[in-house]
Protein backbone atom coordinates (compact mmCIF):
# COMPACT_ATOMS: atom_id res chain seq x y z
CA UNK A 1 0.00 0.00 0.00
CA UNK A 2 1.37 3.33 -1.15
CA UNK A 3 0.00 5.40 1.75
CA UNK A 4 -0.95 8.97 0.78
CA UNK A 5 -2.50 10.01 4.06
CA UNK A 6 -3.54 8.43 7.33
CA UNK A 7 -5.11 9.13 10.68
CA UNK A 8 -5.20 7.44 14.05
CA UNK A 9 -8.02 7.93 16.51
CA UNK A 10 -8.18 6.74 20.12
CA UNK A 11 -11.42 6.71 22.06
CA UNK A 12 -12.63 5.09 25.26
CA UNK A 13 -15.09 2.23 24.80
CA UNK A 14 -18.22 4.26 25.55
CA UNK A 15 -21.30 3.66 23.45
CA UNK A 16 -21.72 7.38 22.66
CA UNK A 17 -18.43 7.19 20.77
CA UNK A 18 -19.86 4.77 18.19
CA UNK A 19 -21.46 7.64 16.27
CA UNK A 20 -18.34 9.78 16.62
CA UNK A 21 -16.07 6.97 15.35
CA UNK A 22 -18.11 6.42 12.20
CA UNK A 23 -18.52 10.14 11.48
CA UNK A 24 -14.80 10.83 11.96
CA UNK A 25 -13.75 7.90 9.76
CA UNK A 26 -16.20 8.91 7.04
CA UNK A 27 -14.99 12.53 7.23
CA UNK A 28 -11.44 11.32 6.70
CA UNK A 29 -12.35 8.95 3.85
CA UNK A 30 -14.31 11.72 2.16
CA UNK A 31 -10.96 13.24 1.10
CA UNK A 32 -11.01 10.62 -1.67
CA UNK A 33 -14.41 11.80 -2.95
CA UNK A 34 -16.23 8.49 -2.55
CA UNK A 35 -19.89 8.20 -3.49
CA UNK A 36 -22.53 8.74 -0.81
CA UNK A 37 -23.15 5.00 -0.83
CA UNK A 38 -19.47 4.16 -0.36
CA UNK A 39 -19.32 6.55 2.58
CA UNK A 40 -22.42 4.96 4.09
CA UNK A 41 -20.75 1.54 3.70
CA UNK A 42 -17.71 2.75 5.61
CA UNK A 43 -19.82 4.27 8.37
CA UNK A 44 -21.73 1.03 8.76
CA UNK A 45 -18.64 -1.20 8.82
CA UNK A 46 -16.82 1.04 11.32
CA UNK A 47 -19.90 1.15 13.50
CA UNK A 48 -19.97 -2.68 13.60
CA UNK A 49 -16.29 -3.06 14.47
CA UNK A 50 -16.29 -0.33 17.14
CA UNK A 51 -19.51 -1.65 18.70
CA UNK A 52 -17.95 -5.12 18.89
CA UNK A 53 -14.90 -3.75 20.72
CA UNK A 54 -17.21 -2.04 23.21
CA UNK A 55 -19.65 -4.89 23.81
CA UNK A 56 -17.52 -7.97 23.31
CA UNK A 57 -13.92 -6.77 23.64
CA UNK A 58 -14.21 -4.67 26.76
CA UNK A 59 -17.59 -5.96 27.98
CA UNK A 60 -18.29 -4.06 31.20
CA UNK A 61 -14.87 -2.53 31.82
CA UNK A 62 -13.68 0.49 29.89
CA UNK A 63 -10.72 0.34 27.54
CA UNK A 64 -9.25 2.22 24.60
CA UNK A 65 -10.25 1.56 20.99
CA UNK A 66 -7.77 2.57 18.30
CA UNK A 67 -9.07 3.32 14.82
CA UNK A 68 -6.52 3.77 12.07
CA UNK A 69 -7.33 4.78 8.55
CA UNK A 70 -4.83 4.76 5.69
CA UNK A 71 -5.56 5.87 2.15
CA UNK A 72 -3.79 5.20 -1.10
CA UNK A 73 -4.68 5.94 -4.70
CA UNK A 74 -7.34 3.21 -4.79
CA UNK A 75 -9.22 3.60 -1.52
CA UNK A 76 -8.99 3.10 2.22
CA UNK A 77 -7.76 0.58 4.75
CA UNK A 78 -9.40 0.86 8.16
CA UNK A 79 -8.12 -0.87 11.28
CA UNK A 80 -10.14 -1.14 14.49
CA UNK A 81 -8.16 -2.47 17.44
CA UNK A 82 -8.96 -3.26 21.04
CA UNK A 83 -6.99 -4.84 23.87
CA UNK A 84 -10.04 -6.61 25.20
CA UNK A 85 -10.84 -10.24 25.82
CA UNK A 86 -10.22 -11.46 22.29
CA UNK A 87 -11.95 -14.15 20.23
CA UNK A 88 -11.21 -17.83 20.76
CA UNK A 89 -12.59 -19.11 17.45
CA UNK A 90 -12.53 -16.40 14.78
CA UNK A 91 -14.02 -18.64 12.10
CA UNK A 92 -17.06 -19.36 14.27
CA UNK A 93 -17.36 -15.68 15.24
CA UNK A 94 -17.55 -14.69 11.57
CA UNK A 95 -20.46 -17.04 10.83
CA UNK A 96 -23.68 -15.18 10.06
CA UNK A 97 -26.05 -15.22 13.07
CA UNK A 98 -23.38 -16.41 15.50
CA UNK A 99 -23.36 -14.32 18.65
CA UNK A 100 -21.99 -14.99 22.11
CA UNK A 101 -24.47 -12.51 23.58
CA UNK A 102 -27.99 -13.44 22.46
CA UNK A 103 -29.28 -12.20 25.83
CA UNK A 104 -28.34 -8.65 24.70
CA UNK A 105 -30.46 -9.05 21.55
CA UNK A 106 -27.34 -9.15 19.37
CA UNK A 107 -28.12 -10.33 15.85
CA UNK A 108 -24.79 -12.02 15.14
CA UNK A 109 -24.67 -10.13 11.83
CA UNK A 110 -21.85 -7.67 12.61
CA UNK A 111 -19.07 -9.47 10.75
CA UNK A 112 -21.41 -10.30 7.88
CA UNK A 113 -22.29 -6.61 7.52
CA UNK A 114 -18.60 -5.67 7.52
CA UNK A 115 -17.86 -8.31 4.87
CA UNK A 116 -20.74 -7.19 2.70
CA UNK A 117 -20.04 -3.47 2.92
CA UNK A 118 -16.27 -3.64 2.52
CA UNK A 119 -14.14 -5.40 -0.11
CA UNK A 120 -11.94 -7.28 2.36
CA UNK A 121 -12.14 -7.99 6.09
CA UNK A 122 -9.29 -9.52 8.11
CA UNK A 123 -9.76 -10.46 11.75
CA UNK A 124 -6.78 -11.11 14.01
CA UNK A 125 -7.52 -11.99 17.59
CA UNK A 126 -5.95 -13.66 20.55
CA UNK A 127 -7.83 -14.78 23.65
CA UNK A 128 -7.03 -12.40 26.51
CA UNK A 129 -5.01 -10.05 24.32
CA UNK A 130 -7.44 -8.30 22.02
CA UNK A 131 -8.79 -8.06 18.51
CA UNK A 132 -7.80 -6.24 15.33
CA UNK A 133 -10.20 -5.92 12.40
CA UNK A 134 -8.70 -4.65 9.14
CA UNK A 135 -11.11 -3.65 6.40
CA UNK A 136 -10.32 -2.46 2.89
CA UNK A 137 -12.45 -0.73 0.32
CA UNK A 138 -11.65 0.57 -3.14
CA UNK A 139 -13.62 3.51 -4.44
CA UNK A 140 -15.20 3.26 -7.87
CA UNK A 141 -14.25 6.81 -8.83
CA UNK A 142 -10.56 5.96 -8.36
CA UNK A 143 -10.70 2.74 -10.35
CA UNK A 144 -9.35 4.17 -13.59
CA UNK A 145 -5.97 4.95 -12.07
CA UNK A 146 -6.96 8.60 -11.74
CA UNK A 147 -5.13 8.83 -8.43
CA UNK A 148 -5.79 11.44 -5.80
CA UNK A 149 -2.60 13.43 -5.80
CA UNK A 150 -4.12 16.06 -8.06
CA UNK A 151 -6.57 17.18 -5.38
CA UNK A 152 -4.19 17.16 -2.48
CA UNK A 153 -1.92 19.91 -1.26
Amino acid sequence: MNVKNFMELRIPSKSQNEAFARVATAAFASQLDPTIEELADIKTAVSEAVTNSIIHGYEDCEGIIIIKCRMDEHGVEIEVRDEGKGIEDVEQARQPLYTSKPELERSGMGFTVMETFMDEVEVHSEKGKGTVVIMRKKFASLAKGQGVSGNEG
Binding site: S15, Q16, E18, A19, R22, E37, A40, K43, T44, S47, E48, T51, I54, I55, L104, E105, R106, S107, M109, G110, T112, V113, T116, F117
Partner: protein, 111 residues
Protein backbone atom coordinates in the same frame (compact mmCIF):
# COMPACT_ATOMS: atom_id res chain seq x y z
CA UNK B 1 -32.90 9.66 18.84
CA UNK B 2 -36.38 11.09 18.69
CA UNK B 3 -39.33 8.72 19.13
CA UNK B 4 -43.08 9.32 18.83
CA UNK B 5 -45.97 6.85 18.79
CA UNK B 6 -49.66 6.70 18.02
CA UNK B 7 -52.29 3.98 17.96
CA UNK B 8 -54.55 3.39 14.95
CA UNK B 9 -57.06 0.58 15.56
CA UNK B 10 -55.01 -2.41 16.68
CA UNK B 11 -51.76 -1.02 15.28
CA UNK B 12 -48.96 0.78 17.14
CA UNK B 13 -47.21 3.22 14.81
CA UNK B 14 -43.77 4.47 15.93
CA UNK B 15 -41.83 7.19 14.17
CA UNK B 16 -38.07 6.90 14.57
CA UNK B 17 -35.82 9.90 14.02
CA UNK B 18 -32.02 9.81 14.26
CA UNK B 19 -29.61 6.88 14.28
CA UNK B 20 -30.27 3.37 15.54
CA UNK B 21 -27.09 1.73 16.82
CA UNK B 22 -25.97 -0.02 20.00
CA UNK B 23 -25.94 3.32 21.83
CA UNK B 24 -29.58 4.13 21.05
CA UNK B 25 -30.93 0.56 20.83
CA UNK B 26 -31.97 0.41 24.48
CA UNK B 27 -33.96 3.65 24.28
CA UNK B 28 -35.67 2.38 21.13
CA UNK B 29 -36.45 -1.01 22.68
CA UNK B 30 -37.87 0.48 25.88
CA UNK B 31 -40.01 2.97 23.97
CA UNK B 32 -41.51 0.36 21.63
CA UNK B 33 -42.03 -2.19 24.40
CA UNK B 34 -43.84 0.38 26.53
CA UNK B 35 -46.09 1.14 23.56
CA UNK B 36 -46.80 -2.56 23.04
CA UNK B 37 -47.54 -3.12 26.74
CA UNK B 38 -49.72 -0.08 27.39
CA UNK B 39 -51.97 -0.32 24.35
CA UNK B 40 -54.39 -3.02 23.12
CA UNK B 41 -52.49 -3.43 19.85
CA UNK B 42 -51.61 -6.43 17.73
CA UNK B 43 -49.37 -5.03 14.97
CA UNK B 44 -46.36 -2.71 14.91
CA UNK B 45 -45.48 -0.24 12.15
CA UNK B 46 -42.13 1.53 12.28
CA UNK B 47 -41.97 4.71 10.25
CA UNK B 48 -38.26 4.91 9.32
CA UNK B 49 -38.52 7.98 7.04
CA UNK B 50 -36.26 9.95 9.36
CA UNK B 51 -33.96 7.12 10.44
CA UNK B 52 -30.66 8.28 8.96
CA UNK B 53 -28.49 5.33 10.00
CA UNK B 54 -28.82 1.78 11.30
CA UNK B 55 -26.35 -1.05 11.86
CA UNK B 56 -26.69 -4.68 12.97
CA UNK B 57 -27.49 -3.58 16.54
CA UNK B 58 -30.70 -2.27 15.00
CA UNK B 59 -31.34 -5.66 13.40
CA UNK B 60 -31.01 -7.32 16.82
CA UNK B 61 -33.51 -5.02 18.46
CA UNK B 62 -35.93 -5.29 15.52
CA UNK B 63 -35.86 -9.08 15.68
CA UNK B 64 -36.56 -8.80 19.41
CA UNK B 65 -39.64 -6.64 18.72
CA UNK B 66 -40.72 -9.04 15.94
CA UNK B 67 -40.67 -11.95 18.38
CA UNK B 68 -42.83 -10.07 20.90
CA UNK B 69 -45.38 -9.01 18.28
CA UNK B 70 -45.34 -12.46 16.69
CA UNK B 71 -46.23 -14.03 20.07
CA UNK B 72 -49.49 -12.08 20.08
CA UNK B 73 -50.22 -13.07 16.49
CA UNK B 74 -49.31 -9.69 14.98
CA UNK B 75 -46.98 -8.47 12.27
CA UNK B 76 -44.20 -5.89 12.07
CA UNK B 77 -43.91 -3.55 9.09
CA UNK B 78 -41.38 -0.83 8.24
CA UNK B 79 -42.06 2.25 6.16
CA UNK B 80 -39.80 4.28 3.92
CA UNK B 81 -36.35 3.17 5.11
CA UNK B 82 -33.43 4.84 3.32
CA UNK B 83 -30.88 3.04 1.18
CA UNK B 84 -28.27 2.49 3.89
CA UNK B 85 -30.88 1.05 6.26
CA UNK B 86 -32.36 -1.05 3.48
CA UNK B 87 -28.97 -2.56 2.66
CA UNK B 88 -28.50 -3.62 6.30
CA UNK B 89 -32.01 -5.13 6.20
CA UNK B 90 -31.15 -7.07 3.05
CA UNK B 91 -27.83 -8.44 4.29
CA UNK B 92 -29.47 -9.69 7.45
CA UNK B 93 -32.42 -11.28 5.65
CA UNK B 94 -34.89 -9.42 7.84
CA UNK B 95 -37.23 -8.68 4.91
CA UNK B 96 -38.27 -12.35 5.18
CA UNK B 97 -40.10 -11.56 8.43
CA UNK B 98 -40.68 -7.79 8.27
CA UNK B 99 -42.35 -6.30 5.19
CA UNK B 100 -41.51 -2.87 3.86
CA UNK B 101 -44.01 -0.29 2.55
CA UNK B 102 -43.63 3.08 0.89
CA UNK B 103 -46.22 4.75 3.12
CA UNK B 104 -47.92 4.25 6.47
CA UNK B 105 -51.35 4.02 4.87
CA UNK B 106 -50.20 1.21 2.58
CA UNK B 107 -48.80 -0.65 5.58
CA UNK B 108 -52.02 -0.09 7.58
CA UNK B 109 -54.17 -1.37 4.70
CA UNK B 110 -52.07 -4.50 4.28
CA UNK B 111 -51.91 -5.56 7.95
Amino acid sequence: MDLTAKVTGNILICRVKGELDHHTAEEFRDFVDRGLENNPVKHLILDLTHLSFMDSSGIGVLIGRFKKVNLRGGKVAVVNENKQVSRVFEVSGIYDIIKSYSSISKAVNDL
